[in-house]
């Protein structure tokens, strides 16, 4: 907003700039071009286009960041966004002693690890398989089909999960056909992780191949030629040419994936879990949601949310540091 006011004022009084130059740059050479005043005078129309977007970032992104202060302050519903009075680490001590928090914490770690373990390599493998397909049409077809679930709403995916895993769903049909007993999967905490990971795979693995496939096209065919002359078979070509060729992509995606380690598919869990499966399904984000939005304990929930965010940051930073030191690829 200040950005908008200043250039307008400047436009009214072009003389002011001359004065500034005269006082601040005594050298006889042409004054340095890029002072703020000059920039504003020349580009104020451009800056004016940035005003609304900047307001957006300020209100909907940076204000909530500042709002995290209520983790250390007592917040009263309807009161100030920034709380009423300092309470120090009270809320942090509260959740340290809260078994519900620790259950959510360990569930998050387990789901995060499983996600990394299964869902990080899967797109890479699928991309390598697709890369070996010689028939263009077949490759196209598989790509088109496997990208499709990415475009579905999470609610629709949750609906599909319910239908397939229900007592009369296809999985139980197969089970009973093989002589087993039907299982009520969605009510069984023992099955939650399997359902979560496999549905996540169904929705994300195809789409995840895009960046790998793009990176694969950048590998110089001469390298394969050279490997062939050296007598490398297909497998060794993949190992010594293909994989090193897309290593930056792999490492970058690994770092990014670690960044979302703690932020497991919260919206999906919220849709498919229920009190019977909390034991394995409740993660930090869903716990925060229940504590904060449903029970109205905003400060307490914010403290837990902050804890989660800090762990996420430390993870990304660590993995990025390791990758920069070992393979020289870094996010920043």
């Amino acid at each position: 907003m200040a950005v908008r006011a200043t250039p307008a004022a400047l436009d009214q009084s072009p003389g002011s700039e001359v004065q500034v130059q005269a006082t601040s740059t005594p050298s006889p050479v042409r004054p340095r071009a890029n002072t703020w005043r000059r920039a504003l005078r020349r580009d104020w129309q451009l800056y004016s286009l940035a005003v609304l977007p900047l307001l957006f970032f300020l209100i909907f992104r940076y204000l909530p960041m500042a709002g995290n202060i209520i983790a250390f302050r007592r917040y009263l519903p309807g009161g100030s966004l920034f709380g009423e009075e300092w309470v120090g680490f009270t809320y942090f001590q509260l959740f340290i002693d809260d078994p519900g928090f620790w259950r959510a914490f360990f569930n998050t770690l387990i789901l995060g690890s499983l996600t990394l373990l299964f869902l990080f390599p899967a797109p890479l493998i699928l991309a390598l398989l697709l890369n070996e397909v010689r028939t263009r049409l077949l490759k196209r077809f598989v790509q088109t089909i496997s990208y499709m679930p990415h475009f579905l709403s999470i609610v629709v995916v949750a609906g599909l999960i319910f239908q397939i895993m229900s007592i009369d769903g296809v999985i139980n049909q197969a089970l009973t056909a093989l002589g087993g007993d039907a299982i009520s999967f969605m009510q069984d905490p023992g099955w939650f992780r399997t359902i979560y990971i496999s549905s996540e795979a169904w929705q994300t693995v195809g789409w995840g191949t895009i960046l790998y496939l793009a990176a694969l096209t950048t590998i110089d065919p001469d390298l394969y030629e050279a490997a062939r002359i050296d007598g490398a078979n297909r497998w060794w070509q993949t190992w010594h040419v293909t994989l090193p060729g897309i290593r930056p992509t792999i490492v970058t995606l690994l770092v990014l994936n670690t960044g979302t380690f703690m932020a497991v598919g919260f919206e999906k869990i919220l849709l498919i879990y229920n009190p019977l499966t909390y034991e394995t399904a409740d993660v930090i984000a869903t716990y925060v949601f229940r504590i904060g939005v449903q029970n109205g304990l905003f400060s307490y929930a914010t403290a837990i949310g902050m804890f989660e965010a800090v762990i996420g940051l430390v993870l990304v930073y660590t993995v990025n540091f390791i990758s920069r030191r070992t393979v020289g690829t870094s996010l920043w």
Partner: protein
Amino acid sequence: MVIPAATRHAPRPTPRRQQVTRGYRVFQVFNALALTLVVVLTLYPFFNILARSFSETSFIRRGEVNLLPKGFNLTTYKYVMSDAVFWNSYKNTVIYTVVATAIAMVLTTCYAYVLSKKHLKGRTLLIGIAVFTMFFNGGIIPQYVLISGTLGLRNTIWAIALPNAISVFNLLVMKAFFENQPPDLEEAGAVDGLNTYGILLRIVLPLSKAVIATMVLFYSVSFWNSWFAAFLYLDRKELWPVTIYLRNLLAGAMGTSDPGAASDVALQTAANIQAVTIVLIATPIMLVYPFIQRYFVTGVMLGSIKG
């Protein structure tokens, strides 16, 4: 971050000089099978849900509906489609998608255009302000307190449309596009006396139809599919989008945690209604999907070049 566009090569060529070994042939067969399996597994749920949506409840309940409908009927479709609440939710989804996408496009285009001007003083700061929010966010509770309490956007369309008006990823894609435009035409426009707004509206935007179409698709699919903002901020039934309608169906079926007993019939009828609703929500996306898919792919790759 990843793909130097200039060094793209053709797909790995078939080695004419290298003998195709038996091992490689075996691999090709295995590969074809694996990929077929991927296709089948991906499509299976879709066909299953279609079959269920057209089936008679009694067959569904006995667990006999798999890939083909049994006791084909349109009763549930008629039931759902005659439900005023369903159509009202559908209408809300369309309104939210259109309004939110329009706002998002205006804000994203303006900011991307500003960021694409390399000479602009403070550009790095302006980019930083946006990129920072990719890695840090306020978390769900402070955002909830802000939108629901401080700003008082509860039960208004703005709670859906405003908080996600700029996706930084889309912003960077668009910025990259603008940066790659040759500056000649803009300079000519300036010589002809157009100001910045005129250049943007009359010269840059008409030349950017491709990226604008891509961005409109990105945003509208994400708003069409979204449910969580509505779940958080809309309590009034007449405001719910269709994703919330489906969520409530799912939650209703889930609430009856005991799958036996008298509720069984109601539960399974609900399952049939769920199937129909799922089909009706997913259909618009599935219909346009084959045509829009490549825009998304291009968008993702554009974004990754300079991420």
